[in-house]
């Protein structure tokens, strides 16, 4: 107690120094400190994105497959107007939404139990258990699910899952959605759990005192308060699902998503067309972030 009192004036003093005389020097220091990360952000991140957008306009030398510096809009027209590609994008968005919804439906009750119902000891154990998969490699998890879903013959006709529970989606879009939900589940769980932990118990008590049952409290008090957390979690699950193309290769069978067509164009080699395709997920993410921003996803950053 005494120690804290003693320190307080010194803190105030140093704050005053920073705010007053020291300003020019500290602004200089601030820029010195920030210039390296800012340069990194501008050159490496924004710069490479800009390059990507520009290269979507390069004309391809048909025969050698090399981009030339002649400009053309035909790559964008191809990527944005051909019905095959538009339906591919729609399918990719549907897959990302489905994975996000499954993550939410699984994460909500799980988080509720951990944050509100479990005893303190159980809670710690459960949180660790749910974070643990994040430390496992993406490929390990995807291939684990491949082994479960594969309609191969080692575990009998129809594969492991078929013989265990009597049903298996086999390889295809359903398998892709399930695998993506499995991969990104912790990213939905953690924000919701954090949101529930932060929620003052007094609000829930007040709701109960006013006669609301637990379902009503959940619907009218908890859920509105959790919307920013859910939105934040959904940004993770949606963007990670939308950009994924490796899961599709592992459990998708003949399925294809937007990421696969980008890879396909890149290896064709048709780099400008690949760049044009990447604008699809970029635009979709900008729109998604705008909507989620309105829902308050960035309030707690």
């Amino acid at each position: 107690m005494g120690e804290r009192l003693e320190q307080a004036p010194r803190v105030a003093e140093s704050n005053r120094v920073n705010a007053g005389r020291g300003r020019p020097r500290s602004a200089f220091a601030l820029w010195g400190l920030l210039s390296a990360p800012l340069a990194w952000l501008l050159v490496v991140y924004v710069g490479s994105l800009a390059l990507l957008v520009v290269s979507a306009f390069f004309k391809l030398d048909d025969f050698t497959g090399k981009p030339t510096t002649d400009l053309t809009g035909s790559n964008l027209v191809e990527a944005f107007t051909q019905s095959e590609y538009v339906s591919l994008v729609a399918r990719s968005v549907a897959v990302a939404i489905a994975a996000t919804v499954i993550c939410f439906l699984l994460a909500m009750p799980t988080a509720l139990y951990i944050a509100r119902l479990a005893s303190r000891r159980t809670r710690r154990g459960l949180v660790v258990a749910l974070i643990l998969p994040l430390w496992t490699g993406y490929l390990v998890k995807a291939f684990a699910l491949r082994a479960v879903l594969e309609p191969g013959s080692e575990y009998g006709e129809g594969g492991f899952m078929k013989n265990l529970v009597g049903w298996s989606p086999g390889f295809g879009y359903t398998a892709v959605v399930l695998t993506l939900a499995y991969l990104w589940f912790p990213y939905m769980l953690l924000p919701i759990y954090a949101g529930l932990e932060r929620m003052p118990s007094s609000l829930l008590d007040a709701s109960a005192d006013l006669g609301a049952g637990s379902l009503r409290t959940f619907r009218l008090v908890m859920l509105p308060l959790l919307i920013p957390s859910i939105a934040a979690g959904s940004i993770f699950t949606f963007s990670l699902s939308l950009g994924d193309y490796i899961t599709v290769k592992i459990v998708g069978g003949t399925a294809q998503l937007i990421g696969n067509i980008i890879e396909r164009a890149l290896l064709a080699p048709n780099q400008p067309l690949a760049a044009a395709f990447t604008l699809w997920p970029m635009l979709i993410m900008v729109a998604y972030l705008a909507v989620m921003g309105r829902a308050g996803a960035f309030k707690n950053l």
Binding site: G65, Y85, E150, G152
Partner: protein, 377 residues
């Protein structure tokens, strides 16, 4: 000489890389390493199968450590070679001309490759491995894309129709090569089933013929169980029995069989697509001397025989036939049977100017790529 000069000018024009460049006049010391882009099964150092190794002795002899990057399609190989990170490539005919046109490879001084003298004359200075009479590489070997089938499913299929027909007995378990060049297989199917279209060369398709091929591929979709881009994907599916018929390479059949797959391969009656491969040297090669040594080694009778047997193709070196473990290998794979290879349509890059000499406009490769992308989207 004029061509070499032209090559040098072209190189200068695209940035003036002075670490590679025109044709070598004499061979120097090895640089200690060589980076290759190759088809699966072309560069084996014993790690796949201890008995399959033609890299270790090369490394011991020349001191050039071999690093290999597997290219899964000609398109991927072109893309990899454009990066300039590799010294040499085993390019098929649908990659070679693009690499030459793009100045990604240089003419090869065959005087520096002693084993070149023993290469079948029928393979030298062909359209796909030379320009203006100057060799752009050394012939590696040639073969046909085969049909692989599950032996449990019954007798060997004899026709490409089983790959395309909606009533194929293999419906749902058909494995198709996932590359634009596969459109040529559909063209061969049409040559057999719709002769009215008048297709004579599966790489020279006018718009009507091309549309018919795409329509055949759209119909085929309903019976396809797998599009394979990685050879290991097809191998795994064959081993699990999830596919029972497919276009394949003999090396995949060998690998899957070694793991117990009940499969065999056959050549269908209608003629097939195939390849005639060429080892080429990058215009940006950082290890040109080791690259030359590798080219000489890979077409040496022993190594060439080893690759031919492992990959399942006809060797390019006339002396290889005496060295194969199976004495009938060259007969089985028709090494000297030009009549047989007249029914094999080597992968080549379709161009606007019809390759069969017709006076109409053909669909160029870039359109093949777009059509395939849409088909697979």
């Amino acid at each position: 000489m004029a061509v070499a000069l032209l090559g040098a000018v072209a190189l200068g024009a695209c940035g003036g890389d002075d670490d590679g460049g025109a044709m070598l006049d004499e061979l120097g010391e090895g640089e200690g390493a060589v980076n290759l882009v190759a088809w699966a099964g072309y560069v084996e150092d014993g790690s796949t199968d201890p008995n399959v190794d033609w890299v270790s002795d090369f490394e011991a002899e020349t001191g050039c450590e071999v690093n290999v990057k597997i290219g899964n399609s000609s398109d991927e190989m072109v893309e990899l070679m454009q990066s300039g990170e590799y010294d040499a490539v085993s390019a098929s005919g649908d990659a070679t001309l693009r690499l030459i046109a793009g100045d990604d490879v240089v003419p090869v001084n065959t005087d520096l490759i002693p084993n070149y003298a023993d290469v079948f004359e029928g393979l030298k200075n062909k359209l796909w491995n030379s320009a203006d009479g100057v060799a752009y590489g050394v012939p590696h070997g040639r073969g046909a894309n085969l049909l692989v089938y599950n032996t449990d499913a019954g007798a060997a299929p004899s026709s490409i129709v089983d790959m395309f027909s909606p009533d194929s007995p293999y419906a749902g378990k058909i494995s198709v090569y996932d590359s634009p060049i596969y459109i040529a297989d559909a063209a061969i199917y049409l040559m057999a089933t719709q002769p009215d279209l008048g297709i004579t060369n599966p790489y020279a398709l006018d718009q009507t013929q091309f549309d018919a091929a795409i329509a055949a591929l759209e119909t085929q979709k309903s019976v396809v169980g797998q599009y394979w881009a990685l050879y290991t994907d097809q191998q795994a599916a064959l081993e699990k029995g999830t596919v029972t018929l497919g276009t394949t390479w003999q090396v995949i059949v060998n690998l899957a069989k070694a793991n117990g797959a009940k499969i065999d391969s056959t050549l269908h009656n209608e003629g097939a697509t195939g390849w005639s491969d060429t080892w080429m040297i990058s215009s940006k090669a950082k290890h040109p001397n080791c690259a030359y040594k590798w080219l000489n080694h890979i077409i040496s009778p022993k190594a060439n025989a080893g690759v031919a047997e492992w990959f399942g193709e006809a060797p390019s070196n006339s002396k290889s036939c005496a060295l194969t473990a199976d004495p009938n290998h060259c007969a089985t794979f028709h090494a000297e049977d030009e009549d047989y290879f007249s029914k094999v349509y080597y992968w080549t890059t379709p161009t606007k100017e019809c390759l069969d000499g017709r006076d109409v406009e053909c669909v160029p490769y870039s359109e093949w790529v777009n059509a395939w992308n849409k088909l697979r989207a």
